[in-house]
Subunit: 436 residues, 2 copies
């Protein structure tokens, strides 16, 4: 029995949760691994702040440099967030030969390539299970559990705030602004909700999932990102009538010549299991060529779930200590020299079905004109729904689901439709995700 | 780059699927592990049988002993099934210092304790991801992904045949016998469906899940097993009216003084995600004390999914070769000497809500008599539904959901009810699984 020593950067929600697990569940963990784990030193901002966890006997410091350079520390756990100082600290930790665990999705998505390269040079491990979908062991499932597969695609509800908002907006009388306020009051959304609502947080996670699924470098800057702030309660109701739910998804799939990485709202057929994942819960579907469709569901945030993933990473590092370095699970699941180079395609290269909503003057022939114009672009309409406009008694609201079409073609068609003058400029366009 | 050599026992559905992956996906797998995998020898029953997989260049034998004793073979993959000859072969393989991968749930559930002990003595690994829920990496999720948690309970749809039958029985006009015939025609159920329909297959899997969840020895003989053959289409309809679906579940939970291991039909509230897992698909919920509720979903059977798990096990063994033996993930997820000894309790010790259906004579006071008798045993009724009997115009069918009660107490109450003479002897009783 060896004792492995942890240096903790940060003692906020997740840091406190991590310390709590290592105190309350240590006996159960020792039954599993046959080794001891000790939190040796913690860097905090304020030494005098009252804590809900017991830090007696643990060295406390306000200087994070002390943690990443501490001679006793085997594993540095970074839970302070941000991509600037956190990155510098982890670079020092890695150069000092420390293994690293982080829950920092932004850091991995934006700087993971260089961190993994540096870790390889220093023969240490960088683990990040908590960075995607909180407590769900999705990184392990993709990097190891499905390692016999060529992953065809991944699609996930990977931002709990967004999923909570869309779930609540499906209830009668709810609208985006009002639901967002409730989410903020409940602590599900930040005062500035941009990161969650505009899809940036989900894009960080999707970037990571795509890399470990396909064996490609992290390419956050090529991940298309669209938020949910333009989705209306009316869209959710129309989608429902057509047999769909609207979910904010991160989707990564292979294309003819490369990959598509994207975060956007999408219609999902009601009978697909992930369409029924509601509230703040997360779920990731992974389609492997041999296994077929699988799904992983659980809480995507919170002290306990996130810390559960952090401590699982610590356990994995402890077990991998004695392994030959080349036998360890690589940072992105594939050997660094084997990462594929195929391009991430622009969003307008995807093929998808589309939900279209527009308002047209209630004049005979408008529908015929629209259909004809779409037909000019070889776009056929799968489902059609029409109802009187709520705002304007002269107009009708037209809702369509198109057949599959390349987005660049659809864009041209929509432009043509708008210049035709039959539809208003506020045409709503939402992609359909076919996950069957 | 090393080449690891596989000896395959059996080339049926899963054996063929495994060979197929190791041929079609080897390039992708090598990108992950940096080692080569070669199928060196395969034992089959009939050398001359036509195969859908290419066996050219692979030594074929009808003598399985040759595989488990072959000097070149590093890993023996057992896919012949059964618990007698398969066990003998794996004992020889282990004694010969071979690592073992098996998809054989009966073998692990019934003889795993001695196989893991023998493997420990011989410093080899026995992996069995494919034994539970086919392609879903549930063994890895519980043994590793959730290793920071004390697992509170597990509940799973772990037999695709049973889930298919219950799903189809929910459709108008379907009954058990007729749906079973369809399942047999589609190849989802065996000619003798006992193993699936009476819950034995699910009990094997639940036994394994309970062991890795709680860190207890495999105790198949103490797993309570009840099948679905007594569930009627009427029960499914009544359950639906009360807000539930009926699923065949394997459930393992902690009790006041030990554990409960059981397979039986159960009512699950419609808004719990697992209630919406339909057809032949499998799903396992795992509740950890820190992570909360998580769920793992995917195909539970078939060549591709099962082989996906088999090959993931091979990859794990290859990666663990260089690891100190004491650092490897233990067979049951916990160190052998740390397995807990608390008892598995008899089924009548569980506390549950219950669905009760009975036929009563349409006489004033019958309901009052029943309620009074239940009240004598401190059992209160949560939900009540009454409708005219289809068969007997003099009678009504009464459906109740009780509050939580110990099953031994419920049994006494039901006995008292029957002897009262107001209800018929064909009283239906189905447990409610509260998985919220």
């Amino acid at each position: 029995m060896k004792t492995f020593k942890i240096g903790l950067l940060g003692l906020g929600t997740v840091g406190g949760g991590t310390l709590n697990i290592l105190q309350t569940t240590l006996t159960e963990i020792k039954r599993r691994i046959g080794h001891n784990i000790e939190v040796r030193i913690i860097a905090v901002r304020d030494l005098n702040r009252a804590r809900s966890v017991d830090v007696s006997g643990i060295q406390m410091t306000t200087n994070p440099e002390e943690v990443v350079s501490h001679p006793d520390v085997d594993i540095v756990v970074e839970l302070i967030g941000g991509t600037s100082y956190a990155k510098d600290l982890l670079i020092t930790a890695i150069n000092n030969g420390k293994h690293v665990v982080t829950a920092n999705k932004a850091l991995i998505a934006e700087y993971g390539n260089e961190l993994f390269a540096l870790a390889n040079q220093n023969n240490v491990i960088v683990n990040y299970e908590a960075a995607v979908a909180g407590g769900i062991p999705i990184i392990k499932a993709v990097r190891e559990g499905l390692a016999a597969n060529k992953i065809e695609w991944l699609a996930g509800i990977i931002n709990g705030t967004g999923n909570y908002i869309l779930t609540e907006m499906a209830k009668p009388g709810a609208d985006f602004e009002q639901v967002l306020k409730t989410a903020q009051a409940l602590g599900y959304a930040e005062a500035d909700p941009t990161f969650d609502v505009e899809g940036i947080d989900a894009a960080h996670k999707l970037t990571i999932l795509a890399s470990i699924g396909f064996g490609i470098e992290l390419q956050f800057n090529k991940t298309y990102t669209e938020g949910i702030s333009k989705i209306t309660a009316q869209d959710i109701q129309f989608a429902k009538q057509l047999g769909f739910k609207i979910k904010h998804l991160g989707i990564a799939n292979r294309t003819a010549s490369g990959y598509s990485l994207r975060v956007h709202p999408a219609l999902v057929a009601q009978d697909v299991l992930i369409a029924n994942v509601d509230g703040v819960m997360n779920a990731v579907m992974v389609k492997g060529d041999h296994v077929g469709p699988t799904m992983y569901y659980g809480p995507g945030a919170g002290a306990g779930p996130t810390a559960s993933a952090v401590v699982a990473d610590i356990i994995d590092i402890i077990r991998a200590q004695s392994q030959n370095i080349e036998d360890r699970v690589p940072g992105l699941g594939f050997k660094a020299e084997q990462l594929a180079q195929a391009p991430v395609e622009a969003i307008d290269q995807i093929c998808s079905r589309y939900y279209l909503r527009c308002s047209v003057n209630d004049q005979a022939g408008a529908l015929a004109q629209i259909s004809a114009k779409l037909a000019d672009f070889q776009i056929s309409v799968d489902q059609l729904h029409q109802e009187p406009s709520l705002e304007d008694s002269e107009a009708v609201t037209l809702v369509m689901i198109t057949d599959k079409v390349q987005e660049s073609v659809l864009n041209q068609a929509l432009l043509a439709l708008t210049s035709l003058g039959v539809v208003d400029s506020e045409l709503q366009r939402i992609r359909v995700a076919d996950l069957g």
